[in-house]
């Protein structure tokens, strides 16, 4: 049987579709007996769907470095 820490990591992997088949089975078995983890798993999935729903954009690190340099020059 896996620990809650391991279950949490697998659960996170699952959010990015990177959990293996074996891992998923381990997770399901753990969720069956652990209430806390099933609650976490549910919330985690909801959070994933929120992230997908929201239009998230970001600047690349490179852009930020350039921006910082430009800004630094004017301070």
């Amino acid at each position: 049987m896996i620990s809650c820490d391991e279950a949490a990591i697998i659960c996170n992997k699952k959010q990015y579709k990177e959990a293996t088949f074996i891992e998923k089975i381990k997770l399901v078995m753990h969720l069956f007996i652990c209430k806390t983890c099933s609650r976490f798993s549910k919330k985690n999935a909801e959070f994933t769907s929120l992230c997908e729903k929201a239009p998230l954009h970001c600047l690349t690190e490179n852009d930020k470095v350039i921006m910082k340099k430009d800004l630094q020059g004017k301070i």
């Binding site: 949490a8 990591i9 996170n12 992997k13 959010q15 990015y16 990177e18 919330k43 985690n44 909801e46 959070f47 929120l50 992230c51 729903k53 929201a54 239009p55 998230l56 954009h57 970001c58 600047l59 690349t60 690190e61 852009d63 930020k64 921006m67 910082k68 430009d70 800004l71 630094q72 004017k74 301070i75």
Partner: protein, 186 residues
């Protein structure tokens, strides 16, 4: 009243993504949005002495950015006539029927609200991300927003996969807590 101070040296780290999101949702073009954010920072620096400290730094920067967005639209509409709003009520001019009623919004439709809510949600998430420790926000952004693969991130940051998943886990739990406080509870 609490007074705030400006810290221009932290602007890019703290607000660049937040402002960028705001700008992208208004000009729908990443390049222009990037320029607008940059201009906002410059303008903020220029008028730093007018900052009274009554508003939070971010609120103040957003206010500048809003001006920049308006300026942007003014510029692209500067040719006379373009700025006028022209609307035809119907594609066929002589059609009978409820020409005005057909144009107004359906009060029962929630589709429009959805878009606004999602935009607010995006800003709320971005705000929470900016509160994370640097490494967590970096890894989370690369993984979730840029959608980079685990291997690529590990290579770029020089960490191993199990390390990455622990960082992701901490970031996600912190973000969920933060959203619980600042958005609807999930």
């Amino acid at each position: 009243m609490e007074t705030h101070q400006l810290h221009p040296e932290n602007w890019v780290n703290q607000y660049a993504d937040y402002l960028f999101n705001f700008a992208v949702s208004r000009v729908s073009n990443a390049e222009i949005a990037k320029d607008l954010v940059q201009e906002t920072f410059f303008a903020g620096l220029k008028s730093a002495k007018n900052y009274k400290g009554t508003a939070a730094e971010r609120t103040w920067l957003i206010a500048i950015l809003k001006r920049k967005v308006i300026d942007h639209y003014r510029k692209i509409n500067s040719n006379k006539g373009k700025a006028e709003v022209r609307m035809s009520y119907s594609s066929q001019n002589d059609t009978d029927g409820d020409w005005l009623e057909e144009q107004i919004a359906d009060p029962l439709s929630i589709l429009e609200n959805d878009e606004i809510e999602n935009e607010e949600l995006g800003l709320a998430i971005q705000e929470c991300i900016s509160k994370l420790p640097k490494k967590q926000s970096l890894v989370f952004t690369m993984k979730t927003i840029q959608g980079m693969g685990t291997e690529d991130i590990c290579k770029e940051l020089g960490i191993n996969p199990s390390n990455l998943w622990v960082i992701i886990h901490r970031a996600r739990t912190a973000l969920m807590d933060c959203l619980n406080q600042n958005w609807f509870s999930i």
